[in-house]
Symmetry: C2
Subunit: 180 residues, 2 copies
């Protein structure tokens, strides 16, 4: 596929919407809407040894306008210009939860919804946490919770934990690190 032209439709606080004119593999030409995103990092923080029988993790209850209410999430946020994903994960962990990561381990990277955005989220596991002061951004409404792993999995099964990046991080750890 060849990019023939890009038109900026909207430049906003969070998203930039573009309409791209492309030549498809079969030679035809069409337009595609694309939300350009700088990328993000998210981190699943373990208060106890991640290999323990039933360790505690830190999860956030965050108000999301899109969900019209509070949802469970891992600490996460957009990459600052030039910021490495692991540095972003450490920064967001401390800003949102008040914990500093002694150790950080990459899990995987996901496209959140590649039909209309190039957003990728780099997922990490953090452990050996130190508690710090909270530095919240003024427009975020969130609570910090400490939750047992067995309770996390119960909330995944019930559908109560329904944020994509959060589910991916939890299930990656359960399927690939704790059961693998």
């Amino acid at each position: 596929m060849t990019l023939l032209a890009t038109e900026r439709i909207y430049g906003g606080r969070v998203v930039n919407l573009e309409r791209d004119t492309v030549r498809f593999p079969d030679g035809s030409v069409g337009t595609l809407e694309m939300l350009r995103h700088p990328g993000a990092a998210a981190v699943l923080p373990f208060l106890d040894d991640p290999a323990a029988a039933d360790p505690r993790v830190v999860l956030i209850r965050q108000f999301r306008h899109a969900a019209d209410g509070f949802i469970w999430e891992v600490p996460a946020g957009r990459l600052d210009p030039g910021e490495a994903p692991d540095a972003c994960a450490r920064r967001e962990l401390e800003e949102e939860s008040g914990y500093r990561a002694g150790a950080l381990r990459p899990l995987t990277t996901i496209y959140t919804t590649p039909g209309f955005t190039d957003e990728r989220i780099h997922l990490f596991l953090a452990h050996d946490l130190d508690e710090r002061e909270h530095h919240r951004e003024p427009d975020e409404f969130m609570e910090v919770h400490r939750v047992r792993w067995s309770d996390v999995l119960a909330r995944v099964r019930s559908g109560e934990i329904d944020d994509g990046k959060t589910l991916a991080a939890i299930l990656y750890v359960q399927a690939c690190l704790r059961s693998g």
Copy 2:
């Protein structure tokens, strides 16, 4: 949070971008950009018994402009107006893979990226598949692959499978159905 006003910024083929003026829980007023999405369904199709030792599943290699290449995905697509998620899952499975589901089971529902869109994807597992003719949409460039579960998990661990909904469906099945 109270919605005070909604301004349509852009109405497109796939997305509708709005700027909402809201009153936050602390009484302050601000604006939030929101991509309104009708919701979607995605389905992980098993060719063999999902409880078998190493069953085969059907995955799609789809060209995504956002990824600038082909990525692994489960069959998925947007809900038509008034369409139930399970009906959408069956329709997209048949359109994209050529298989009809004998049985469909809901897994969970995810917010893809709630910081800027209300998109939710309903995830399903399908089995007892019948092969049908393919009915592809003309702007989709995709291949149908049959992949062993052990190979799927290897591609998750290597990071080669990196679509959020696809990873969530695979890991939900592995962590909650096959290991639980």
